[in-house]
Symmetry: C2
Subunit: 154 residues, 2 copies
DNA sequence: GCAAATTCAATTGTGCACAACTGAATTGCA
DNA sequence: TGCAATTCAGTTGTGCACAATTGAATTTGC
């Protein structure tokens, strides 16, 4: 019996932890965050803060809701996170003049300069991953399709 | 140029959010938790609580540290989580008589009975995932190797 | 046999996630 | 034109994660 055939079976076997893809994802995601931690500590960032900075390094200013759309996070997560980034001196939060409901997030000079210090991190992470570039590409593709399907499912 | 060749490149491209496998994992993991949420709501559990129950359904009692080893979580996460499971009436926490440092976690009747209500969840999730069984197996395998490599990297 | 090292669960403090809600600003449409 | 619906950021409350520390119990070395 192949592994693939086993995973199609129902019954009590389905509840075995080590059969569950979602647990593998949950563990891998936490392991990745842990692998980033010492690298990001040098920048003074947490992983979610680093993600927000990645988006801003691509284009700024961005409103809170634009950041939320890119990252899949809501204002309940982003509002305090962005305040912490502002307290760190990496971004500035400013009410939009055209639409006063919006808060635009600008990079400070220190925030913009940080991208140079972060430039080596993706490669260091890729080295730590122990997968080939082709495997990483396939993994990203599969995870992307999975995320889309899961979002569509409810 | 293939995607695989691109991912080997350094430079500013490496900081692009949609190139990052770790963000894909982070997003997929949160999407999975969100997909579980309405199903687990019927049981009165959160996803980490469900994971702890999965371990206990395989064998019990388990000490806090045994659960922590299975799930990769420490006592700072598990102690309050297990107290909430006890408050829900699904487990009982009891000091070990042989080694009074240990706290053994037992299933209550309600906790043991819950596995029947949970038995359909893995299949429902697999359906929502929109991947073939072979893809899910490969994904689990790749994620497992990735998790091991990341843990070994620091 | 006993002191030092280790094991173990719990606590504290910080920072996400996310549901639910608030209140201000803007848009749309009758 | 005016008001109902929508958009937007922020707040509140709950529940993880995890580093660091505490204090009790046990094991190890000598």
């Amino acid at each position: 019996m192949t592994t693939s055939e086993e995973s199609r079976q129902a019954g009590p076997e389905a509840l075995r932890l080590n059969r569950q893809v979602c647990f593998a994802m949950y563990s891998a995601s936490r392991a990745a965050t842990a692998a980033y931690r010492p690298m990001l500590e040098e920048l003074g960032l947490t992983y979610p803060q680093y993600l927000a900075m990645l988006v801003l390094w691509e284009a700024e200013p961005r409103s809170v809701s634009e950041l939320g759309e890119e990252l899949g996070l809501d204002s309940g997560t982003l509002s305090p996170l962005l305040k912490r980034l502002e307290a760190l001196g990496f971004v500035q939060r400013r009410r939009s003049a055209e639409d006063e409901r919006r808060v635009e997030i600008f990079l400070t000079d220190a925030g913009a300069a940080l991208s140079a210090k972060a430039s080596g991190i993706p490669q260091r992470l890729a080295d730590a991953a122990g997968l080939t570039a082709a495997e990483l590409d396939q993994l990203r593709d599969t995870l992307g399709r999975l995320t889309n399907a899961l979002h569509a499912s409810h």
